[in-house]
Amino acid sequence: MNKKAAIGDIIMDNILFLIIVAIFLVFMLYIVLQYQSSAVVWEKFYTGEITKVIDFSIPGDSVCLNVHKATEIAKSNNVLSDSEIFTINNAQKEICTKLSKGQQTCLNYFNDVDTIDWKLKLSEGKDSSGASTINILCFNIIKTQKKVEEIV
């Protein structure tokens, strides 16, 4: 009886070890796979570049950017919809990019403008050689809406 109890304890200890190892492996695998698809690196790149474009723009500008690489990575990572890849929060002046499930990368822009009409146009752009089509992200820059409301 005593021996059986001891065997039970050993099995329980080993199961505990195995559970910890499994959690650890899943966590490390998640991090490595995210980097392997370069999602984290490209998320940072696109968020930074879009923020720079918005900071540099003035109301009335129309912007179209080549986001072909971002859409390819998002598709390979099963990001659910195109509208999830790039999101904008005009109230908080924040741009977010999501190229993998579970996380997004965000930055604020200091330019006091709003961006509207965000459209991800698939296969509507042309690459530098003009031979093949690419995916582009287009949006318009307007004066910040808060100020318009205050004036009204």
């Binding site: 050993i10 991090i31 984290v40 930074g48 002046k93 977010c96 999501k98 996380q103 930055l107």
Partner: protein, 153 residues
């Protein structure tokens, strides 16, 4: 005797956790070495802000006693106060240490130009530009402390 053995067996969790920690650190270090520190946006943002302010001062007459600089230069006050630092001096020998600037937002401008702190990510990344308008010299210091944020989504 039996109790001692059980205690010893339970203690094996510590070497086990230590081993996992070392493996985790090894993988993290490998990924970090391969991909580098990542994309640091702050120097670019600081230069952009400096360019916007420089153009704005050259083109417009700004009343620095009020907060009109934000409206005239089309800058969002809340975001600037949260992520950036700005100091503007007129005819000053040393704008960084000047106690009477025309305008300032934020603090610790000395941290921008510490020689030993260039590799330290805790310090903001800054830009300093001098411009001449009529007979006056303006010094504009801008800095960014905005780090890229990862959110769960």
């Amino acid at each position: 005797m039996y109790k001692k053995a059980t205690g010893g067996q339970q203690l094996t969790i510590f070497p086990f956790l230590f081993l996992m920690m070392m493996i985790g650190l090894g993988i993290t270090a490998g990924v970090w070495m391969f991909y580098g520190k990542g994309y640091d946006f702050r120097q670019a943002e600081s230069s952009l802000l400096n360019y916007k302010l420089t153009s704005c001062i050259l083109e417009k007459d700004i009343d620095f006693t009020k907060d009109s600089i934000y409206d005239l230069c089309n800058l969002n006050k809340e975001i600037i106060e949260k992520n950036n630092i700005i100091k503007i001096c007129k005819n000053s020998q040393d704008c960084v240490d000047s106690s009477s600037p025309l305008f300032f937002s934020g603090s610790n401008f000395q941290g921008c130009f510490f020689t030993g702190a260039k590799q330290n990510d805790a310090y903001p990344k800054c830009s300093l530009v001098s411009i001449k308008k009529q007979s006056d010299t303006y010094q504009i210091i801008t800095g960014s402390k905005q780090l890229i944020r990862n959110k769960l989504a």
